[in-house]
Amino acid sequence: MTALGQNLIDALALGSLYALIALGITLVYTVMGMMNFAHGEFIMLAAYALFVFADLPFGAAVGCALLAGVAIALIAERVAFRPVRNADLSAQLVTSLAVAAILQNVVTAAVDARAQSVETPAAISETTSIGAISVPNLEFVTLGLTAIVLGGLGWLLYRTRTGLAMRAAAENFEMARLLGVRADRVIAIAFAISGALAAAVGVLIVLQTGQVSPTMGLTPVLVGFVAVVIGGFGRMFGAVAGGLLLGALSSLLGVYLPEGLAPFRDAIVFTFPVLILIFRPHGLLGGEIGKARV
């Protein structure tokens, strides 16, 4: 029973992390219709801020990471994504792939292709006991952060004018524009939030692994994409649900998979969405893409 409780908390924590990734991707998708491949590189660059500013107090370094995530997201939007805003889905996806490749290799050239270790506060790797269950502090941080982000996003989207504009843009971009919603502003805000979410994820990953590498964004972005697909495109709730589901699956497989199959955990985790798509081609929560416009 204790072991089960422990595993469930682990699963929830990993799922929360994945949900944060999926949220960042969905946010941009809803206002712009673009699946942003470079989101993983936003995560990576924010993480590198921790490496670069390792001399600062950790809290200050985290602040720098946050700024870095927001800044790179805004720059990428202005330089690369705005010119292809009206291109089709595939063209936008390839554009974001190009941005991802550029950012990844800029870091490779500027720092190194190999992973660099980053010192993290000792408190984060300790555990706190709740009854018989001992929970790593990092999981508390992850769960707490996710709760704050979800609450904050909910407040922003449903309680503010900006949120209303964003929801309107997500519903019908052209119409929102005609009604006076400033497209550039809404999209920039979405990218800024997405960059901040990426930074949060980057920090959490560094806290967990203690290192940064140029390719560290690849798996998270795929996780986020798959979570978004599972959850049904363009739905905040779906993205969170998809992230939780994928994280829980990955975490539980890590515990319960027989030893011989353990190395293939990622393969199994990423095959799982395909199985879902066989039965639900438009994801579990069914947002339909390219639905017949007749």
Partner: protein
């Protein structure tokens, strides 16, 4: 025969020969160079085959796949397993079954087997993936790539794990790589110009319109996905036989970005584009790598090595292409379709044929009896009841007008009849067979043609291709499809424009082309959704003449949604009036026009009447 063709022999020859010549020139430059240049050129040619493999799927379907390098990985490992000398195999891959270790095949059989298995893998993987949407495919194929990497990197006893395999016999020469690349070009063009290739290109141009002419989107994508898997498998197998070493990262994210850049920069829609993209980007890549290493050669200068520089350059090129030149260097055209080549006289645009021969009807066997019948169709969108128990009968050979105010449910009814929308209740039967819930593709093959309120052209296909692909959707041969297209285009007076890309035609012609496309499936029932919208007066008169001819010559039943009574009156023997999701009147055009209830519904007073009731 009519002499109608998709392209002239000269244009076809140029489209085929120019890429082959480029490959030959590249190979000749390499074959006479230093061993290191030979290696470089062989690598370029292997990559070229993979890029052409990508083109077959991405270019023709318009759907991006980030997983094709997974098939190159599969091909490479299989080719390596089949040729690895026994001593090395025991050391590196102890878990490999004996019959594979003992195979000791030559290069050619190993490549062929690798190609076959990669293709088979692509079909197996594609079966579920192709069911998903246009945006989910890139993501799920990317997931597939990661799954392949994960399996190969961790299955140590069979694949050698992340350290990979060495001492694989190096047998690929510049010449053999060039021959395979040439074969890839021929195969890719043969596919692109086949009926199946055209059907897939139609789905790229407009998925909805493609389904309306009987094209199975999933099936066509799967065929191209499989063929792409074969070509990528060949590219991977050849590459491993060149380098002699292989590890899980050989064909992973970096190679995916590189090959995707090659395809996009060249222009994904054409094999010519894939060829020039692969050669051009490989050349740029070599130059950039030269700079990378050059900096390290000048050790005295503090620049040092700049790993990643080449990749940054490629990324910037890809980004710039997407922003400034989304159709790539080739503009998405084959060599024979390029304007400047036509100027040089290498390939001439085909003259429009002066006359068309009629094609015998009823080549597609369909029961001649029955009618299109809808009974008690009801449908609500999120609680809003759009159709409330509508009945409709359309006999072959008759024209039924469907009129009513905006929002009456006319288009929704046509969507239900043609399978684009499933009704909440009620049945649709076609010639006595219940077809409720059948897909548009299926219904089109059953003889149901339709047009849309928007013209939905296939912009990049020519007029004749756009129409012929309708016949191809019925599974008839290419030759016959072209004959049908020439016949239909002739009847609609579109022959003069048939050579031009459909997207370049004026709106009126695009609309007629939509009707021609629906007629090419030789429908028994034709549903026209406001065919006269946007036509001028002369074009409207022409439309009436055309539809009258269609009625008499094709013998199909026509359901005509139209506001313009000048079109409905002369054509339709019966008119059905919809208002607020219900039929309020069926009768002869004159009676219906005189009916006060109908007049009222058009004036909008039915709203008040509805409140009273």
């Amino acid at each position: 025969m009519s002499g109608m063709r998709f392209r002239t022999p000269r244009s076809a020859a140029a489209s085929l020969l120019v890429p082959l010549a480029l490959i030959a020139i590249t190979a000749l430059l390499g074959a006479n160079g230093t061993p290191s240049l030979q290696d470089t050129v062989t690598t370029i040619l292997c990559n070229l085959i993979i890029v052409i493999g990508l083109q077959v799927f991405v270019g023709n379907s318009g759907v991006y796949s980030f997983g094709q390098l997974g098939f190159a990985t599969a091909g490479a490992y299989i080719a390596a397993f089949l040729t690895l000398p026994a001593a090395f195999a025991l050391l590196q891959t102890p878990g490999l079954p004996h019959f594979i270790v003992d195979a000791h095949l030559g290069a050619l059989p190993s490549i062929l087997i690798a190609a076959g298995i990669s293709g088979l893998l692509a079909i197996v993987v594609g079966l579920p993936l192709m069911r998903t949407s246009t945006l989910a495919i890139p993501i799920s194929t990317f997931a597939f790539l990661i799954v392949v990497y994960n399996v190969v990197a961790n299955w140590d006893r069979v694949t050698g794990g992340s350290s990979g395999l060495v001492s694989i016999p190096s047998t690929t020469s510049v010449q053999s790589a060039a021959l395979w690349a040439g074969a890839a070009v021929i195969l890719a063009l043969a596919y692109k110009w086949s009926a199946s290739g055209y059907r897939l290109q139609a789905t790229r141009e407009d998925e909805v319109a493609a389904r309306s002419i009987g094209i199975g989107v999933m099936r066509e994508r799967l065929i191209a996905f499989g063929l792409s898997g074969v070509l990528c498998g060949i590219g991977g197998a050849l590459a491993v036989h060149q380098s002699g070493v292989l590890n899980p990262a050989t064909f992973y994210f970096g190679a995916t970005v590189t090959t995707m850049t090659m395809l996009v920069v060249g222009g994904a829609r054409s094999v010519f584009g894939a060829t020039i993209g692969a050669i051009a980007i490989a050349t740029v890549n070599e130059l950039l790598r030269g700079v990378e290493n050059g900096a390290s050669l000048l050790g005295a200068i503090s620049i040092g090595e700049a790993p990643g520089l080449a990749a940054i350059g490629l990324g910037l090129i890809l980004l710039a292409t997407m922003i400034a030149m989304p159709n790539g260097l080739s503009g998405g055209r084959e060599a024979g379709e390029l304007f400047w080549l036509q100027r040089l006289g290498l390939s001439a645009a085909a003259p429009a044929p002066s006359s068309a021969t009629t094609v015998e009807k009823q080549a597609i066997d369909r029961p001649a009896k029955g009618a299109l019948r809808a009974q008690g169709i009801s449908l609500a969108f999120a609680g809003l009841r759009v159709l409330k128990g509508v009945d409709l009968t359309l006999e072959p050979g008759e024209a039924l007008g469907l009129i009513g105010p905006n929002g009456a449910g006319k288009t929704t009814l046509v969507n239900v009849l043609s399978g684009f929308q499933a009704p909440d209740s009620g049945t649709v039967s076609l010639d006595g067979v219940d077809v409720t819930g059948r897909s548009p593709t299926h219904l089109a093959r059953d003889g149901l043609g339709r047009t849309f309120q928007a013209a939905l052209p296939f912009p990049e296909l020519s007029g004749v291709e756009s129409v012929a692909v309708g016949a191809m959707g019925m599974g008839v041969s290419r030759r016959r499809a072209i004959a049908v297209a020439a016949d239909v285009l002739g009847r609609l007076g579109l022959l003069e424009q048939a050579r031009l890309p459909a997207g370049a035609l004026p709106p009126g012609s695009q609309r007629l082309l939509g009707i021609a496309r629906a007629l090419a499936i030789e429908p028994r029932y034709l549903l026209l959704d406001e065919p006269a919208a946007g036509l001028d007066e002369a074009e409207c008169e022409q439309l009436v003449t055309i539809l009258r001819d269609v009625l008499s010559d094709f013998g199909c039943g026509i359901l005509l949604i139209e506001h313009d009574m000048n079109i409905v009156m002369p054509l339709c023997s019966r008119v059905q009036v919809l208002d607020d999701g219900m039929t309020i009147r069926i009768g002869a055009p004159r009676e219906v026009q005189a009916d006060p209830a109908v007049v009222e519904s058009y004036l909008g007073s039915s709203f008040l009447a509805g409140v009273d009731a």
